[in-house]
């Protein structure tokens, strides 16, 4: 069973978002996604400062199997990226909700999070996939 932390928001593309105290969001891929991707060997992240629109392919995770796009879950600015993944992409497999985070964003519309899935809805989506 994949882990689905209750406090996070999710997209149907299997990304998670965590709202920080300063109003920014941290973005990663879900436990389900990392398991489906297989062992990651390379992560390509967006440039800090770049503007992304919801749905844009803005990062790539490459596993032993294939390259997969990661889509911007909301519209906004990339504030920072997880530099540690350059040498340790396997962190995404090991701790998808922790040290395996991908990037941090500033939301263009603070209400955009409300339109994403909560843990219950994301879990329902996973149940459908099984």
């Amino acid at each position: 069973m994949s882990e689905v932390p209750l406090e996070l928001k999710y997209t149907s593309d299997h990304e998670w978002l965590r709202l920080e105290d300063d109003g920014s969001v941290v973005v990663g891929v879900t436990d389900h996604a990392q398991a489906a991707l297989g062992e990651l060997v390379f992560v390509e992240l967006p440039e800090a400062g770049s503007e992304v629109v919801q749905g844009d392919a803005c990062a790539v995770v490459e596993s032993v199997k294939a390259a997969s796009d990661v889509y911007a879950p909301v519209t906004g600015e990339i504030m920072g990226i997880n530099e540690n993944l350059g040498d340790a992409p396997e962190k995404v497999n090991q701790e998808p909700y922790g040290d395996g985070w991908l990037f941090r964003m500033r939301l263009a519309d603070p209400d955009a999070l409300d339109e994403l899935l909560d843990a219950e809805a994301y879990q329902a989506l996973l149940d459908e996939l099984d």
Binding site: G38, E39, V41, F42, V64, A66, G86
Partner: protein, 361 residues
């Protein structure tokens, strides 16, 4: 409806992630493809390759059939147990399949062909066998395991249905047979090891005995990264019916002599060789960060080529690939990955053999 090997239930019990491969439900990995890869480089791993097809050629016409159908020369097979790697070609010189031919007696050759091509291969063999005193027998009653790695033979020897002493005495690219068991010192990983053919009903017992002896179960994922590091071609990816052995690094498997051996595809190969226009088939080491994948364009000073196989090398911790480049292409090139051009260096495969890097990083 997917086909399953005699070990399908065993794979599930061992925790395999199952994927479709050429219409077969096969294990991709049993938890970690990378760990499985390292196990084969450092100790021993076992692969279920029962989806591959064992075909026996029984009768005095086996030699004549092979002489007509394969680009390598079956005449090289003089002592029983010798194996030969070769391509079977169409009349345009394109590769119908790559295969290993084993010679056991003048009236008994065995060939092992790929899973994805087995139906067309068997049909092709039967079609050309019609006029000859030879019977083409597809052995669906047999299973095949590959046990590979520096400790593979030592760990497997007490458990194979051929006397351990005889099995351990086998030289590379030879095989021994006892009843329905065959032990061959061949493989697809760049490591020492055996490919074992045995009755399907005995496969599960052998598999469990190997695991109990400390041999790690390995899936198709590790099989692919191991063969890529070893610089070995994958049919359907590095070559197919539109590509000749001259264009996929397999010129060494073409036996031009004797000149009067008229194998199918010979005329087309001779014309291609005379024209001298064959592409270069090379290894690539990506110098920038990223991962090479099959299908990526390669830009060279002499035009555009293509990555035919690519991936991440667990042994080198770098991305490597095989590529077809225009004739005359030099040692430096750029691979286009998602619109960006990254530097790559042409190298001579294998990338890794017997556990050791064979290229400068």
């Amino acid at each position: 409806m997917s086909q399953r090997t005699p070990l399908y239930e065993q794979h599930l019990a061992d925790g395999a992630k199952i994927v479709d491969f050429s219409g077969w439900d096969m294990p991709l990995h049993y938890g970690s493809q990378v760990d499985e890869h390292h196990s084969v480089r450092r100790a021993a791993g076992v692969f279920d390759v029962s989806h591959m097809c064992v075909v026996d050629l029984r009768g005095s016409g086996g030699r004549a059939l092979l002489s007509r159908l394969i680009a390598n020369d079956p005449g090289k097979l003089r002592s029983p147990g010798r194996a030969l790697y070769t391509c079977m070609l169409n009349d345009r010189g394109g590769v119908i399949d790559d295969l290993i031919v084993y010679y056991f007696a003048d009236d008994f050759y065995r060939v092992v062909v790929n899973a994805g091509t087995r139906d067309k291969d068997v049909a092709w063999l039967r079609q050309h066998a019609e006029a000859l005193p030879v019977e083409v027998q597809e052995r669906r009653d047999l299973a095949m395991l590959a046990v590979q790695g520096p400790r593979a033979r030592e760990l497997a020897a007490p458990r194979v249905g051929v006397a351990a002493e005889a099995a351990l005495a086998l030289k590379p690219f030879t095989a021994a047979m006892d009843g329905d068991w065959m032990v061959a010192r061949t493989g697809y990983t760049g490591e020492d090891g055996w490919e074992l053919v045995l009755p399907a009903g005995e496969a599960r017992e052998l598999w469990q005995a190997l695991l109990a002896a400390g041999v790690r179960p390995c899936g198709l994922g590790a099989r692919d990264t191991l063969r890529l590091e070893a610089g070995l071609n994958l049919y359907g990816q590095d070559m197919d019916e539109e590509v000749s052995p001259l264009a996929c690094g397999l010129a060494w498997t073409i036996a031009w002599a004797p000149a009067d051996r008229d194998f199918i595809g010979r005329g087309a190969l001779e014309a291609e060789r005379a024209a001298g226009s064959s592409p270069r088939f090379v290894g690539l080491l990506l110098e920038d960060r990223g991962v090479l994948r099959a299908g990526y364009p390669v830009h060279t000073a002499h035009g555009e080529g293509i990555v035919t196989s690519g991936g991440f090398s667990p042994t080198l911790s770098r991305s490597i690939g095989l590529a077809r480049l225009p004739a005359g292409a030099g040692e430096q090139c750029e691979v286009e990955i998602r619109g960006r051009r990254l530097a790559a260096r042409v190298v001579s495969p294998p990338f890794v053999r017997h556990g050791e890097p064979r290229i400068a990083l």
